[in-house]
């Protein structure tokens, strides 16, 4: 009887050791690296207006409007520190401003992808100037729709 009790207790302990942990654990943030490493991000492409010069406060109060494309990532991610470019670790990121090079012509050719799920490959750049609206930006190399 005593042996049976120990067996049942052992069985229950082993069950609880596995099941609850897998159900309650939070998704682990994916940690990427700043440039020059190439990365891929997936999420919804959208555009947003921001107040620009002269005061970067309010378009209604006379600031110029700056319109950029951003990506809302499917899952939050983080970026590792990079001493070489004085960039600190960033965590829990979900919105990323796109740097779209003139040579890509993406503002013209990829406009139909706005508000759709896309995958972007490129390099991550830390926020530096007032024209940078998110903590981390992506210099876009390719931008494609995710077919579901």
């Amino acid at each position: 009887m005593k042996l049976l009790f120990i067996f049942i207790l052992g069985f229950l302990v082993s069950c609880t050791a596995y099941a609850p942990q897998t159900q309650t654990s939070k998704p682990v943030e994916k940690c990427l690296n700043y440039e020059p490493e190439k990365v891929q991000l997936e999420g919804q492409l959208y555009k947003k207006s921001f107040p620009g010069p002269p005061n970067y406060t309010d378009v209604k109060k006379g600031d110029e409007e700056e319109v950029y494309w951003l990506l809302k990532t499917t899952a939050p991610f983080c970026v590792n520190e990079n001493e070489r470019i004085w960039a600190e670790k960033q965590t829990n990121l979900s919105d990323v401003q796109l740097i779209i090079g003139s040579e890509t012509g993406f503002y013209k050719t990829k406009r139909s992808l706005l508000n759709k799920k896309v995958i972007i490959s490129g390099t991550l750049i830390p926020q530096i100037t007032g024209h940078h609206k998110t903590e981390v930006l992506i210099d876009v190399h390719s931008l494609d729709e995710v077919k579901e």
């Binding site: 010069p53 002269p54 319109v67 470019i85 003139s102 503002y107 926020q127 530096i128 007032g130």
Partner: protein
Amino acid sequence: MTINSKSPFIKIEIINDLRIVYYREDGSSAVYIGGSRNWRNNNPGNIGYGNGRLVTKLGAIGKAGGFAVFPDYESGRKAILSVLKKDDFQGRTVSKAIEVWAPKEDGNNTELYKKHVQMWTLIDLNKQVKSLTDEELEKLVKAIERKEGAKLGKIIEVPPATGTKRKILDVKKNKENLIIQYLIEGYGWLRKAEAINLVEKDIVDAVIVKRQNGYVFLRSRPDSTKTNNLDK
């Protein structure tokens, strides 16, 4: 652009969106009023504050509107140069460096920034930043400064306080005869909430009065004259 040859500014206080007070070690200060954000912040390159780590290395003394505040205009110019000398910018072409500094916007004539920089500097934009001479780098800094476009405002110098607090010199009232603005010695016209903030910080000599109906206003300290009480 530096306002005087006194000791450098060591800290700032933000009064409102269009007003920053710069303090020197001797207690004197200068109030920067109006103009563009990059002029008020002594930050001609519009360098963001971020988490403060980069800009503190570059000499920033504070943050206003999400942007770094530098102690003087020259420090702000040097900060542009320091950013261009970072490893990541050094490895880019001038064209790419500009694209990263001010990313192409949707729907605008986005090539204008590059065209202007090329026109003003005569630098081949396909050259790598690391291959630029000191003279060319200086030209690039000037071009970014010009393109970002600082608009001048007004600076009011305020001597060190000699044990006495700033005084309320005048008030502005609305149609209902309620005070909406105060003229504070050395600070100019401030909204009521801003003036109350300075009283709470012991900078302005006045008393905060709260009525039972919730109306709050400032009164000068009681003296024998009733006309200067600043009652609503």
